[in-house]
């Protein structure tokens, strides 16, 4: 038991995490490419045309994984931030910082593809639906996290302040989601009911799952690349970085 704890904390040091991340990155990129190519192939060539929505529905193969990732990355970010705050491990805070831009990108992608899907399907780029609105608020939360970290010069303080904000945000996300949902049902005049999802063909589901895996692998690969850059920047005064960079 004792031995395993020591083993795990080994990678809490930037010096030992940096090469580990470097070794993992190519594998995640390869997996992202494999899942992405097969997922795109299924979603463009294998999946049948939807009877009601025509070819336009195919954007959900990007839209749904992006929405999933945007929500999930916030949870992971808050987890690393909380771990960094509790155990004072530097790499945890760096992971939280490196995940934020990817999460914001996913939220933006989800909103954008949602608008592209909404125009032909609903006839409007934007409706004040509960899901759209809470995704937009999630995007604002990411922006706030990144803005706070960017505004504080001392990296240790930036880590801790960002961690508190991420934890406050994660407590608030369910409250925000349910309040937006209730707000939406109160004003039910103009909205479209999205909750009744039509049953999906098996191939469509496969395409979506493969694309979701591709998004996962991409997010991990990019977060690890970013965390390596952050480690180098913050540890630039140390000997091992001088050796590593050469």
């Amino acid at each position: 038991m004792r031995k395993s704890i020591v083993h795990w904390f080994k990678f809490a040091s930037p010096q030992s995490f940096y090469p580990l991340a470097g070794r993992m990155i190519p594998w995640f990129w390869a997996a992202a490419a494999v899942f992405g190519i097969s997922g795109l192939w299924i979603s463009f060539f294998v999946a049948p045309t939807d009877a009601q929505q025509g070819e336009g529905y195919r954007i959900i193969f990007v839209h749904v994984p992006a929405s999933w990732m945007s929500m999930f990355i916030y949870m992971v970010m808050a987890f690393w931030a909380g771990l960094g705050l509790a155990l004072n491990t530097r790499v945890s805070a760096m992971m939280a910082q490196s995940l934020a831009p990817t999460g914001a990108l996913m939220a933006a992608l989800s909103l954008w593809t949602g608008a592209l899907w909404g125009k032909p399907m609903w006839g409007a780029w934007w409706v004040w639906d509960a899901r759209l609105t809470s995704e937009l608020i999630l995007f604002f939360l990411y922006l706030g996290f990144m803005a706070l970290q960017a505004a504080i010069d001392d990296p240790r303080r930036a880590d801790k302040a960002g961690a508190i904000l991420a934890l406050v945000g994660v407590v608030n996300i369910p409250i925000i989601y349910f309040s937006v949902k209730w707000w939406n049902t109160l004003h039910q005049g103009s909205t479209i009911n999205m909750n009744k999802a039509p049953s999906m063909a098996q191939t469509m589901l496969w395409g979506m799952l493969l694309m979701a895996m591709a998004f996962w692998m991409y997010s991990i690969a990019v977060a690890l690349m970013r965390v390596r850059a952050i480690i180098l920047e913050r540890e630039r005064h140390t000997e091992w970085v001088k050796h590593a960079v050469g």
Binding site: G144, A147, L148, A151, A161, V168, I176, S179, W182, L186
Partner: protein, 221 residues
Amino acid sequence: MNAFFATVRRDLLLAMRRKSEVLTAVFFFVIVTSLFPLGIGPEPVLLKKIAPGILWVAALLATLLGLPRLFAADHVDGTLEQMALSPSPLGLLVAGKILAHWLLCGLPLVLLAPLLGLQFDLDASALGILTLALLLGTPLLSLIGAIGAALTLGVRGGGVLLALLVLPLYIPALIFGAGAVEAHIAGLDVGGHLSLLAAMLVLAAFFAPWATTAALRIALE
């Protein structure tokens, strides 16, 4: 508890010596609400429909205006460090400061809201619900805002950053606060809205001083 009331008294006293700062936020509230009819047009039916939302958004922004001052002056002259070192728990003193902030920035808005609601043709019972919702909601705004104020203490571009951090977190209060009045006008039961607002207030009253204290300790490091 003595330390708590001493902090409240001190902050109120300091604000009374510099009245203009408190009054600015109140006048801001009045001016913003008066701008909407000028921008939208004087149709009574439309104005009555959007009144709860306008009053709530204006209250949100007016509360935000007072937040950077919550800790800034005490941080600059070192009072905050002395508070952190004092034998009474910092969380208690912070709670006192938040209460003082609400008494100065929140309560005036609650008292003014019925008057401004009259300009929007709200009837007496709707004004009552509006006041009650603001009475429950504005302390919530002060509590959540205090976390943001502590996080952005002494940070570059703190004021704008504070708005970016805090406004998304204000959305539930806005929805249920304005929703209560709208539901009342529509003839629905408002109990659910007010209960949820009160529940969020209780939750925030427990957690927010604690999170604010943690953020202040980070800022003081």
